[in-house]
């Protein structure tokens, strides 16, 4: 079957043909890959390209892939807020504030829980883990009804603090579930050795555990970041009346609702909302894939 079994005096015709079929197969696969990439990229490309087109071009009945006379007018309209009264920066600031605080809070709280679950055996451990799995599945568009009524009585409507609380709580199940594996992978002997050398629990945490769990924290932070940055239903429901408090997803949706026909400006707003998260994803792509596989596929 293999090279060893082949008679030595064989003419070179077969290997050569094989060489060519392998080459054409390779070319075919590459072509297929290119096709998949192009189709996948097209909507993003079209968004960016439209954002640079003047109205006469995007409104044309025969669309062209690239703007013939690229313009920054759409971006200017979004950035100086001439369309809905408030500049893009206002909403970026809201989104970054909510997202960063929620990421920090959920990472820290999840790390504590992950240590408990990975390092201790206690009676309600399995119950807690199953609870996390079930909680993760509760549909947000269902819970939002009760949360809206609660937040109304707690004075947390139209408040970014309310959103931070919700984002932190809803990011926790997946974050704990993912971090658990990373904490479990840290060899216990290292912590014990440090403890024998006289390091207290706080020192062991900062000097041994935290550096070793850092890659896991990166993966879970990305998850929490993307969740909070993109979240739609809670923001839509809780930030109903105060436009100045809108986060970016609600801003883009509101912008689209108010300017249903100004596609140049809508695509500019959408580009400014999307590009940061894309850049972020590409930057951490490899870690993210590993973390998601560890977290999502394993549990």
């Amino acid at each position: 079957m293999t090279i060893l079994a082949r008679p030595s005096g064989r003419p070179p015709a077969l290997p050569r043909r094989r060489y060519w079929t392998r080459r054409t197969r390779r070319a075919g696969l590459n072509l297929l890959g290119l096709l998949v990439a192009l189709i996948t990229l097209f909507p993003i490309f079209w968004m960016v390209s439209t954002a640079f087109k003047p109205a006469t071009e995007w409104y044309s009945l025969t669309p062209h892939p690239l703007p013939a006379h690229p313009t920054l007018a759409n971006f200017r309209a979004v950035l100086d807020g001439s369309v809905i009264g408030l500049p893009y920066w206002n909403f970026l600031k809201n989104s970054l504030f909510v997202t960063l605080v929620a990421v920090l809070a959920s990472s820290f709280i999840a790390l504590l829980a992950a240590i408990a679950v990975a390092r201790f055996r206690f009676r309600l451990r399995t119950t807690y883990l199953v609870m996390l799995l079930v909680v993760q599945m509760l549909p947000q568009q269902a819970l939002v009804i009760a949360l809206f009524i609660d937040f109304r009585s707690w004075n947390l409507l139209d408040s970014l603090v309310g959103l931070i609380l919700v984002y932190t709580a809803f990011a926790l199940p997946v974050t704990i579930w993912m971090l658990r594996n990373f904490v479990a992978a840290v060899p216990r002997e290292m912590e014990e050795a440090a403890a024998i050398d006289g390091a207290g629990p706080v020192r062991v945490f900062w000097r041994i555990l935290l550096p070793l769990v850092a890659p896991g924290l990166v993966a879970t932070s990305v998850f929490a970041f993307v969740f909070a940055y993109n979240e739609f239903i809670f923001a839509l429901t809780f930030l109903g009346t105060d436009t100045a408090k809108f986060t970016l997803p609600i801003y883009v949706q509101y912008f689209y609702g108010r300017n249903g026909a100004d596609w140049g400006a809508i695509m500019a707003a959408s580009t400014l909302f999307t590009i940061p998260v894309m850049a972020f994803f590409l930057l951490v792509q490899r870690r993210l894939a590993a973390g998601l596989v560890a977290g999502a596929v394993k549990g």
């Binding site: 590459n30 269902a142 999307t274 590409l282 999502a296 596929v297």
Partner: protein, 298 residues
């Protein structure tokens, strides 16, 4: 004591902001909770199973449930097939091409639901959208023709959900592809090689070697896809133009509209939300079982 102290912050947050609202939802679903009760001007009354029987006799509920079920039944297999095919393709591409294709896929995955929805609405808009233009330029034997010029994709349920399906598949196939690829990497190459030497074609190899080995991954991906696609909200909300077109509501949107459109009927909406949750919990039980079987809880 130590583990409970470490669990305390997460438990407190989840209990107050997730579990308690879930309990409240169950309670509201047996009450006549509306705007007067929210304002406190009228007392809350128990209505027994009143909300549920009203729902079961409501044709709009059945319509929205049907849309949710049918669209999930199309989206889930489509996403899984496309994602698996791309994952298999990625595993066979050269290193550089694979990196390129997977980076591009990650971009689609990273696109926020709001952006993706607005982009797809723009692609398919009747005035100047590229989809209708393409449809009108395609030759007849490919289904093209002048009837596509100015075709509205959002005025009726079928075209609207076709658009939403394309949108959902576009954003969610990369996750499937990357997970399948990660699974494929764990299969020793010798298994595929020896199957090929034995004369098995790609189709047979997938079903006889790859699929059985990756069954746990596919199980989890399937259940996650069902949960995501049955509960799809943001994309539908934006594509059908907020809460305007009642005949295009799926279950989640119908429940949300019942709660937040005037006059708000929180009790009735809670009953709808409870039904939605029960459907998803049934799927979740399958998900938890698959995870337990895989040993993730040990």
């Amino acid at each position: 004591m130590a583990p409970y102290l470490l669990l305390l912050p997460s438990l407190a947050l989840i209990a107050v902001l997730v579990l308690w609202p879930a309990v409240q939802l169950g309670v509201f679903s047996f009450q006549n909770y509306g705007l007067p009760q929210l304002a406190g001007s009228e007392p809350t009354q128990w209505v027994g199973l009143g909300n549920y029987s009203q729902i079961l006799h409501d044709p709009e509920f059945w319509l929205s449930l049907r849309l949710s079920v049918i669209s999930a039944a199309v989206m889930v297999p489509l996403t899984l097939v496309v994602g698996t095919l791309v994952g298999l393709l990625l595993s066979r591409l050269g290193r550089r091409m694979a990196a390129f294709v997977s980076s591009v896929s990650v971009l689609a995955w990273a696109t926020p639901a709001v952006s993706a929805s607005v982009i797809f609405v723009w692609l398919a808009t009747p005035d100047g959208g590229v989809v209708d233009w393409l449809g009108s330029k395609l030759p007849h034997w490919l289904g093209g023709g002048p009837q596509w010029a100015g075709f509205s994709w959002t005025n009726a349920a079928l075209p609207a959900y076709t658009l939403i399906t394309a949108l959902v598949v576009w954003t969610s196939f990369p996750f499937i592809a990357i997970s399948v690829l990660a699974g494929l990497r764990t299969i020793p190459a010798e298994l595929h090689d020896s199957a090929r030497v034995d004369g098995a074609g790609s189709w047979r190899i997938f079903w006889k070697v790859t699929y059985p080995l990756l069954r746990p991954i596919f199980q989890v991906l399937f259940l996650l896809s069902v949960i995501w696609d049955f509960g799809v909200f943001t994309q539908v909300f934006i594509v059908i133009g907020e809460l305007g077109q009642r005949d295009e509501y799926n279950l989640g949107i119908y429940e949300y509209a019942t709660a937040f459109q005037l006059p708000p009927a929180y009790g009735l909406a809670s009953a709808l939300a409870f039904i939605l949750t029960i459907v998803l919990l049934i799927v979740t039980v399958g998900y938890v079982r698959a995870s337990v079987k895989e040993g993730a809880l040990l």
